[in-house]
Symmetry: C2
Subunit: 363 residues, 2 copies
Amino acid sequence: MDTLDVELGTRRYPIHIGAGLLQRPDLLDAVRTRPLRLITDQHVAAHYLAGVQGSLSLDSQHVLVLPPGETSKTLASVEQIMDWLLASRLPRDGLLIALGGGVIGDLVGFCAAIYQRGIDFVQLPTTLLAQVDSSVGGKTGVNHPRGKNMIGAFHQPRLVLADTATLVTLPVRERLAGIAEIIKYGMLGDAGFFAWLEQKLEALLALDDAALRYAVRRSCEMKAAIVAQDERESLAGGAGPRALLNLGHTFAHAIETFTHYNEWLHGEAVAVGLCMAADLSARLGWLSTPDAQRCRQLIERSGLPVQVPAGMRADDFRALMSLDKKVASGKLRLILMRRLGEAVVSGDFDPAALDATLRHYTA
Amino acid sequence: MDTLDVELGTRRYPIHIGAGLLQRPDLLDAVRTRPLRLITDQHVAAHYLAGVQGSLSLDSQHVLVLPPGETSKTLASVEQIMDWLLASRLPRDGLLIALGGGVIGDLVGFCAAIYQRGIDFVQLPTTLLAQVDSSVGGKTGVNHPRGKNMIGAFHQPRLVLADTATLVTLPVRERLAGIAEIIKYGMLGDAGFFAWLEQKLEALLALDDAALRYAVRRSCEMKAAIVAQDERESLAGGAGPRALLNLGHTFAHAIETFTHYNEWLHGEAVAVGLCMAADLSARLGWLSTPDAQRCRQLIERSGLPVQVPAGMRADDFRALMSLDKKVASGKLRLILMRRLGEAVVSGDFDPAALDATLRHYTA
């Protein structure tokens, strides 16, 4: 088992990474004595609920199982969870456990943020995407028909247990969605890690234990370091270190909104968004053309999509990107690459280059 | 005009207090250049909206007027406001203005806390209760059928303008509700201020300008000092300094829940709660019996209620108080008085004394 800490002062918390951690009830000793409620979804429950419930001696009335998928990530689900928590009288010193992927983590984390003005929660991420990205850093929230994650809060977990053995039961598409975020970390902050990924891609795709643990650990380390610098994405008016984690995401959110959150997985949209960010960075003369090609090639080799959804036009991107949270006073800012392994936030790019990227990808 | 600061590091903000501040557009200069949205209610809009809207040059489509009263303080209103903010594309560097009493302040503050994971807001409190209490300290939230303020967040305003001239148009019952919280500050933290209130009660009830400004200022100062020590009511497991502000409130919340939030004003329920807290403190031998009588007498002289709602029984209090946010691991904690001007949080009191207070008040 590897352990790393997210250094956030009084909100500091550990992330444990390794195969079989959900079978290690001792790792939950610190929270076991508190009033607990666990929320998961039907898919995850089928594989892992019984084990976790048993090791925590959780009464079944203290477990809520939601339908799987992004459609649960709404204010309506928040209301349902608030009703359930209040009906079961969870006190303010109680603790919520999120067992599942990014949807469960974001939704349950947000409920923990607003239940009685904030209670503690623990993340047990069971998807690769959640293990390397969404369960670390305290971004919680739900979607709105007008945009993804438009309602939410920053609320840090007390503990994250990333059991890499759960990835065996994960559908291949979802595994790949996690690979996209791992590639993102290489592109935005560590050219050496990117080169390692080019070498080890097949091992990673085959769920080789050592490769998987290193990839998850290195991704979490990079995210934790960035989050520790800029917990609420508030530095430099939202254009500080934390914004770098959104490499590819402005394009990706437009794709997800265009497809109503129900066709593309987040990581699949990110994969295309990463290609578009690399393409735009190369058109600006920042990233070398060969390195932009390496980015696209690694994503394509993984089996991830590298083209936008059928029928999506440049104007669709322009309209949907204008609602992005990174728009400041009407000006669109994007995360771009100065070079491989170095991302920057920029509102100061040639709009003709963005037009060229949008036209190229929607041709 | 008096100004005091709530000392919260990077979240430090000023409170300006005085008559006619809503006619001072210069006080809003710091926020005027940002994308703004204003939310108020129909009662307040009739008196003050035109002036504020004019001085901020606010387009009418950037103003939302809600029905007045506690029934607006729900998740349904939050959803309505999120829809409106997103439809009008308020960016993340935008700012919400809450013009109204405690309901508007709590609701709008909560929406600011969760819109795009948190944006800035400004409080323009127009009731005495909001000026001395709810607009200071960052507690925001909405009610749930199972309890008051059960859903919410800590989110500090950027600025508070308390225009004491708005109290002239406030119904007498609402003015008195604010007086109850002012008396609370004397009881919990400053016996000298309590004695001043005994002297100046008539001037205060007649809205004498100097008396009013001093009472609002002294209340805000005491609250600001406590909030600066314990911003999130997290010290000592929720039993730290900030909990002292809840003197009388556990009884009061039970009364409000029993009457479904629509018969009693919050301050009226607090008035009875303060009498009950003083009564229990005297039964425990902590507060002297004469001082407990002074508390009840001052409340009664103000014209505030000193008796629980008709038909409310001791068992109703017990059931409703058990859901209080101050319950820790099944143990009820109350804010009680060691002596006049000194409140303490205690879970360590003789339950027979609480029973005696409940029986006495429900007899």
